[in-house]
Amino acid sequence: MLRIDCPWCGTRDEAEFKYGGDATAKRPPAEGDGAAFYEFVYDRGNPKGWHQEWWHHVAGCRQWLKVVRHTVTHEIRSVAKATDDVTVPPA
């Protein structure tokens, strides 16, 4: 069971959160073209290693959090607010 250290609420069980996928995907601006929107929705790095991803604290503060988690060990390196810039360790 993942334990996620919400910057607003403290460490909470995985059950309080919902996953939201790759947090490196950036929505293009309104004038973005088809290729840009394709990438936003479908193009994923799927790293075997550190992964920057969204978790939504649905049963807590309702904030979308930027989590850096290892996809093999499930270790969580950092949990940040949605607007924070985070660093991802090399794989």
Binding site: G34, V58, R62, T83
Partner: protein, 985 residues
């Protein structure tokens, strides 16, 4: 007649001889004492034959004294409480216990399937992969039913489990698993340092190996007393830690009431603990392992430590005349324990050639030691009466009379929990065993789990581990405590020895009947990896998961491969360390409590007024109302006609409601919806359509502008939670600069739709403070008023296609407002209507709902092209324009009507649309179908290729599942009032 306890020692053991417990096995009456397990009590009465093996149905007895028992499995209890495959070796005896042997017919002593032994030579590992293929159809008809009946072990209960279970959440600084010398010392050291400690042990008595050492009893009791006196230390006996999961969370199951005839009133049978441990000390001990030799499965062959346990702990004589077969010094303890209890020890057959101090000690007791020797056969079947032995490399056999063979092939540290963390095991040459590897989670192993042997050494190791675990968390001060008296000098080193090669079946997996030859056959056929060999032979796949003898298979395979055991490895240990009861894992979530129930504020009114309910997601919603609980269409049609002809009222409180406020609320709504909301006038509602970013329709609903910077959004019932999360995602991660705040108010409002041509008349009888006339309050108006003194907000929106007003009131006023409207509507023929009529009406009107908004349809597919604004960003705009989504050949929304109005040829949802009655080429499908009260025929909505271009065509709805084909006409989805006059009336 009760079987006498012929094999109970005159004294000794930890049982309470002052009390007698009565129990039955296969219908025969026995007795035992508190402190007994079912196995020890059966053994006390001289029972040897407890079960039959999986494949050959060979007679099997008790081989261990712990949870790794592969053979002595029984059906415990009866009726709804029957629990198959229960290990007799850990089943705590209670008065009135009933147990039965399993996997035998007609009886344990006379088992017909034992004939399998005679043809066993033709049934090697994996034989079933090579046969039963001819003719092909015989597999399901002939072979498989026979195999299935023969397979399986015990029988599941078929009635509903009467017991209850629960789960509990726990946090601690230090979790100590195992309560032997190492575990007790670790818990005390950590506890004394100030850490919050949980100490869990699977046994019903705490103490582990200490329970076999009477001279250490004062220390054990002193430790338990000290631990019990620490307020932050929790002791959990009868609790198996079954899994070590990521983020240092462990699962454990506590057998709260399994030692009682029935759980106490309001008590649970078992409880699952989810333990978040900042540090864990694994003091799980070690288990002795057997050696493979011919007929090593006969009842009466057991682990040396098990024999010692039955003598020392349970005061039972496991046999009259024992032979010890060992490759290590520790096993001599068992010989001495038996000897001290007055059991004849015919010989110690020791694989090792070199004399040791232990051999001398045995000689002092008059026990013969056969050095450099091995057991090459066991005489007997359901019981044993002798063995053959010979020198390790010799052939000349000698025989010894014996009814008990105590085997020790060395010890395996219980590394299972550590393995769950994916730590890599390390091989220890001295112990010829795998030890815990470098930790990857916050844990450390101590005591014999870490390869340390001897009570005092384990205690010291445990104390050190406990201190280190506490110190890692910053707990440093702790009072020292006394350790047990020093151990006698003993060398845990073993001479690796795994198999005696001689004639006869030598088992490496006793439950699944896997022999050393089976492992070699797997190797010969190329199944040389341990995982392949395991799967091919089923070795280590029985209920003990290889805990008893998994390493034997590895050793035999390693020899065949010409490689080391270390290289070959063991199959991955995975949860569960011992199997866990389903009911315990499910806890309170059984039966109707699988999921919580959501009820609307009007729920109790519906109950009182004969609502027939349906589970829609978590919600309970009335389908229709019927005092006689009649089924069929009549009650539904009656309710729908009331709406079309007079007035009806429906509970729509389940609709999602989100209150949105802020300067940028309008801009936010414009981006969420395909259409524009920033231009909506205050006091007006508008229908809106939301897409996912991939361009598919996500949700719809009417949203009202309550003031300049405030909107109230409604969502569908099903998507309410998802829409809120969707808004939060886009606001927080994509457009954080928008000045907007919102929250769900779904549960704060009771909402009811009042619909029908006489709605205004009805509402005028109860609404105060709002002019409901069409001029003052036109279609899509929103206004505040009161009903029966309660504040209400009224939206003039319609799902049914009739003149309609949705009335919302704070949840607590729901019933009062509802009843006031009913009262006011009475002269106009008002009826409450349920979900079925609601669906009927919306299908007639051509409004889309769940079946059309199924995540596979675009706005264009549903005819909402005009709702896609041309300018400005909105979610799903760009991806929704991918070429194949713009294809006019996609299935698009239309109406369909049965050509025959007789109701006899029925249309059904899920029918496919074809152009000829017998065509197989689907043009689309019927999404929502109803009987129409307006057009008096079957009609509905459908998604049809090029649908809008086909209006007027005669096609067919085909439903091959029922062999039905119905002629239909394609039409506008708006079967009723396509000009939308009624809603504006």
């Amino acid at each position: 007649m009760t079987q006498p306890q012929t094999h109970r020692l005159a004294y000794g053991g930890r049982i309470d001889r002052s009390r007698t417990l009565r129990f039955t096995f296969d219908g025969r009456a026995y007795e035992g004492h508190p402190g007994d397990t079912l196995a020890s009590a059966l053994m006390a009465s001289g029972e040897r034959l407890i079960g039959r093996s999986f494949k050959y149905h060979r007679p099997r007895g008790i081989v261990t004294a712990g949870p790794e028992e592969p053979c002595a499995l029984v059906e415990l209890r009866t009726g709804a409480c029957r629990e198959p495959n229960t290990r007799a070796t850990v089943a705590e005896l209670y008065d009135g216990l009933e147990a039965n042997s399993q996997n035998r017919w007609p009886s344990l002593a006379l088992d017909i399937s034992a004939i399998n032994q005679l043809v066993g030579r033709f049934l090697p590992a994996g034989f079933y992969y090579k046969t039963f293929m001819w003719p092909a159809s015989f597999w399901e008809k002939v072979y498989e039913p026979i195999i299935r009946r023969a397979a399986g072990l015990g029988r599941a209960a078929t009635a509903t489990d009467p017991d209850e279970y629960e789960s509990i959440q726990a946090h601690c600084d230090v979790l100590v698993v195992g309560s032997g010398a190492a575990g007790l010392a670790a818990a005390r050291a950590a506890g004394a340092a100030g850490a919050r400690v949980i100490l869990a042990d699977q046994d019903f008595e705490l103490g582990g190996g200490l329970l076999l050492e009477p001279e250490q009893e004062p220390w054990r009791q002193g430790m338990l007393a000290a631990l019990s006196g620490m307020p932050e230390v929790r002791l959990l006996p009868r609790t198996t830690v079954f899994g070590f999961y990521e983020h240092d969370v462990l699962g454990a199951v506590e057998r709260v009431s399994d030692h009682l005839p029935v759980p106490p009133e309001h008590g649970v049978r078992q409880r699952v603990w989810t333990i978040r441990a900042r540090q864990t000390v694994l003091a799980t001990g070690s288990t002795e392992r057997p050696i493979a030799f011919p007929n090593n499965d006969r009842p009466g062959v057991m682990l040396a430590s098990a024999a010692m346990t039955y003598v020392r702990r349970f005061g039972v004589r496991p046999g009259e005349r024992a032979v010890i077969f060992a490759n290590n010094d520790i096993a001599y303890n068992a010989a001495f324990a038996l000897h001290d209890a007055g059991i004849a020890v015919a010989a110690i057959v020791d694989v090792r050639k070199k004399d040791s101090k232990r051999a001398a000690a045995a000689a002092d007791r008059g026990i013969a030691v056969k050095l450099g020797s091995v057991i090459s056969d066991v005489k007997g079947s359901r019981d044993i009466h002798g063995i053959s032995f010979r020198s390790v490399n010799g052939t000349a056999e000698r025989v010894l009379d014996a009814d008990l063979v105590c085997v020790s092939g060395g010890w395996n540290p219980a590394v299972h929990l550590q393995s769950h963390t994916r730590a890599r095991l390390t091989w220890d040459n001295d112990l010829a065993a795998f030890l815990p590897g470098k930790p990857v989670q916050a844990e450390r192993s101590a005591g014999s789990a870490a390869g340390v042997f001897g009570i005092a050494r384990c205690a010291a190791d445990g104390a050190k581990a406990g201190l280190e675990a506490a110190a890692a968390l910053g707990f440093r001060d702790g009072a020292a405590f006394e350790l047990p008296m020093p151990d006698a000098e003993i060398d845990p080193k073993v001479k690796p020895f795994w198999e005696v090669k001689a004639k006869g079946k030598a088992f490496v997996d006793l439950q699944n009947d896997v022999t050393t030859d089976d492992i070699r056959l797997a190797h010969r056929e190329g199944y040389t990896h341990i995982e392949h060999a395991k799967r091919y032979t089923t070795h280590s796949m029985a209920t003990d998961q290889g805990r008893f003898s998994g390493i034997l298979g590895t050793a035999v395979l390693a020899e065949a491969r010409g490689e080391t055991i270390e290289k070959v490895g063991v199959p991955t240990f995975r949860p569960y360390v011992t199997p866990v009861t389903w009911g315990a894992m499910a806890g309170r979530h059984a039966g109707h409590h699988l999921q919580p129930v959501r009820r609307t504020p009007l729920h109790h009114w519906h109950v009182r007024n004969h609502g027939i309910f349906l589970e829609t997601g978590l919600w309970m919603r009335p389908l229709y109302y019927s005092a006689t609980r009649e089924t069929g269409w009549d009650p539904i049609l009656k309710e729908a006609r009331a709406v079309r002809q007079a007035v009806g009222i429906c509970d729509v409180s389940t609709l999602g409601k989100i209150d949105i406020q802020g300067r940028d609320a309008g801009m936010f709504m414009d981006r969420l919806y395909t259409n524009t909301f920033s231009t909506l006038a205050v006091g007006k509602a508008r229908y809106g359509l939301m897409l996912r970013e991939d361009g598919m329709v996500f949700d719809d609903g009417t949203t009202s502008r309550l003031s300049e910077n405030r909107y109230l959004m409604t969502t569908t019932t099903a998507k309410a939670a998802e829409v809120l999360a969707h808004m939060e995602f886009y606001h927080q991660t994509v457009w954080p600069d928008l000045d907007v705040r919102y929250c769900t108010v779904t549960d704060q409002w009771a909402q009811m739709s009042v619909a029908g041509p006489k709605t205004r008349l009805a509402l005028q009888g109860c609404v105060e403070g709002l002019d409901l006339s069409n001029e003052a309050f036109p279609f899509m108006g929103v206004g505040d008023a009161t009903i029966a003194g309660c504040p209400v907000r009224i939206y003039r929106v319609s799902f049914s296609g009739e003149m309609a007003y949705e009335v919302a009131t704070p949840a607590g006023y729901g019933e009062r407002v509802w009843e006031a409207i009913l009262e006011a509507g009475k002269p106009h023929g008002i009826l409450p209507y349920g979900l079925e009529a609601l669906g009927l009406l919306r299908i007639e009107k051509g409004h889309v709902a769940g079946p059309e908004l199924n995540g596979q349809t675009t706005a264009r597919d549903l005819g909402f092209d005009k709702m896609m604004k041309k300018k400005g960003d909105f979610i799903g705009r760009v991806n929704g324009e991918r070429p194949r989504l713009m294809d006019s050949d996609r299935p698009r929304l239309v109406g369909i009507r049965a050509v025959d109005p007789s109701f006899e040829k029925r249309l059904r949802g899920g029918a496919h649309i074809v152009d000829r009655p017998n065509s197989k080429a689907s043009l689309g499908w019927a999404t929502s179908i109803t009987r129409s009260v307006e057009l008096e025929r079957w009609l509905g909505l459908a998604m049809v290729r090029n649908g809008p271009d086909r209006i007027g065509q005669r096609l067919y709805a085909t439903y091959p599942l029922k062999n039905e084909v119905v002629e239909i006409e394609i039409c506008s989805p708006h079967h009723v009032d396509p000009e939308n006059l009624r809603v504006r009336a």
